[in-house]
């Protein structure tokens, strides 16, 4: 499980965006939402994808955007905890801090928060059936075009 989480972060940090959708099941749910909304049970999210195909679309969009503002991202993930074993998969949470680096600038924290995941076996390996990325801030970080 730790390996799976590491591989996910590494793929994004290495800029291997095209492999990112492969970490999800075909009918996955991927959401990025502020903590405020998550705790209030509001369905509104900054990013809402309900299939792997929608993730693929995001990668295409990102490749275009990324041309204009080159940046690198670095994930630090910790506190990976199994919360429940359910018939539809394993429920886990993990904390993340994301650092980004723009050309000619210093690295800085741009987002931290918690993953709420459901992981299943699929296609001979592990995949996210659900990854809800709940970030701590109330403002919308412009960098959020990049996967969390």
């Amino acid at each position: 499980m730790a390996d799976f989480y590491c591989a996910y972060s590494d793929a994004l940090d290495e800029g291997e965006l095209e492999s990112w959708p492969e970490f999800f099941t075909e009918d996955c749910l991927y959401k990025v939402t502020p903590r405020e909304n998550f705790e209030a049970g509001l369905p509104i999210a900054l990013i809402y994808c309900e299939s792997r195909n929608m993730l693929v679309d995001r990668v295409v969009a990102l490749r275009e955007t990324a041309l204009f503002v080159p940046r690198t991202v670095r994930h630090l993930t910790g506190n990976i905890r199994l919360r429940a074993m359910e018939p539809d998969g394993l429920r886990l949470t993990a904390s993340f801090a994301l650092f980004h680096t723009m050309v000619d600038q210093r690295s800085e924290v741009f987002l931290c928060g918690r993953y709420h995941d459901r992981v299943v076996e699929d296609g001979g390996g592990l995949r996210f059936a659900e990854r809800i990325c709940v970030y701590d801030s109330t403002i919308v970080p412009i960098s959020l075009v990049y996967p969390v």
Copy 2:
């Protein structure tokens, strides 16, 4: 042990302050002190609690303060190392980075340092008999009203 550390961080990050004292033994020692004092062997600490009851008092005080400056805190803990097995418990150290997020502001690092812990079995689980939080900076971060 990793689970115990994760649970501690999660409780604080989720704002479950009332469960925080439960991570400590009844006659625990909890201190927050700058590295300078720690290395010089000075007993002076910014926060000094020598029982679980004193931690409970802090939570009450914090609940009142928190009403005025809402913030969320995020712990990243790493480098958990067993340093010694002694008759009175396990000695461990771990590094921490704390990020906080204020309303309408970006997340930022506000403290990093090292835990110096003594962990014992108590009440059917693990508890801190001692947790000395040594932070790297020499200034007093105002956010330190929140548990480290």
Copy 3:
């Protein structure tokens, strides 16, 4: 392996610089290089040491510099992954975030990036035969006089 990585970070974070070269083999390669150069395959590096003796020299130089700008450094290392087992050692990668704290200032991130390591058994324990520290920014952080 996790222990070895933790011990490395701890030695640096505790300021035990003199023990730092001991984490490397006698004919080690230690490089600190921006991601841009690394990905382009450029040999140019900010720091380039090809023996343990050169690391010892750096420590001496650093002790002198450190007198002028006292700072403490804190490593958070994550995503440690075994990439290959080769006849000449284990290939691993890991992500790092480095925080530094100057006197009377708050802690802040000053560098993040990835280690590209080759680890071998040597002298009854593990040692780095190679540690390439690839940092994400394009600018030269002045603090880089300190080992990554």
